[in-house]
Assembly symmetry: C2
Homo-oligomer: 110 residues x 2
Amino acid sequence: MAKKQADLLQGTLDLQILKTLALGEQHGWGIAQRIQQTSEGVLNINQGSLYPALYRLEEQGWISSSWDVSDNNRQAKYYKLTRTGQKQLAEEVANWERLSGAIELVLQSS
Amino acid sequence: MAKKQADLLQGTLDLQILKTLALGEQHGWGIAQRIQQTSEGVLNINQGSLYPALYRLEEQGWISSSWDVSDNNRQAKYYKLTRTGQKQLAEEVANWERLSGAIELVLQSS
DNA sequence: GTCTCTCCCCTAGATGATCTAGGAGAGAGC
DNA sequence: GCTCTCTCCTAGATCATCTAGGGGAGAGAC
């Protein structure tokens, strides 16, 4: 059985979402699209992962939501980063750098 | 509740173990020590994660084991990378580079 | 005016790696 | 004999993610 994407990088979804929202308000569908684009198609977010994650992040107070109308004239739930969310993002970015750096060290060891 | 290390990089443990064994035979305890050293103390492997992982990797045929005596004169189960394990390692390294690169793209987007 | 397509939301249940929180044997040094 | 460190191991819980759905509502085609 081939590994799934998230089996390898489980735990980075929150980071991706927070970062994406730092660029501006988005609705769930839009977040997934934007991540896919900026990652050049490598990161494909499953809706079954996305919505629970959004819920979780809102619960934590890192993002907040409001209903509005999308560019395509449809009802959409727009999320944006809160103050706390910005701090959280900074923390998660730092953590990512620390850990991915550590993995690189291991991979380069000989 | 602060995030645990592996919550952020779940799925990289196999990679770390395979890479470590690519440098030479090691027993479980030694693998954990070596990873901690090469990662400059950042990566601390929990024994409750390590042994299940070793079992899993052996099941897959990526590593093989044999009992021997350690430097400290104790019985220890030495693991080494198999042929298939080397291929798997190459694959996981490539995958890691692909995904961590994608995350970087997302983090650098604006 | 109805069909289909795309946009957009959501959920229940299963999966599976990892963590918690232990237990245990056996050299070595005192 | 006591304690320390080395070394192995496991059962059960946790929790993010995946699978595999469901549904409503514009918009364009015919």
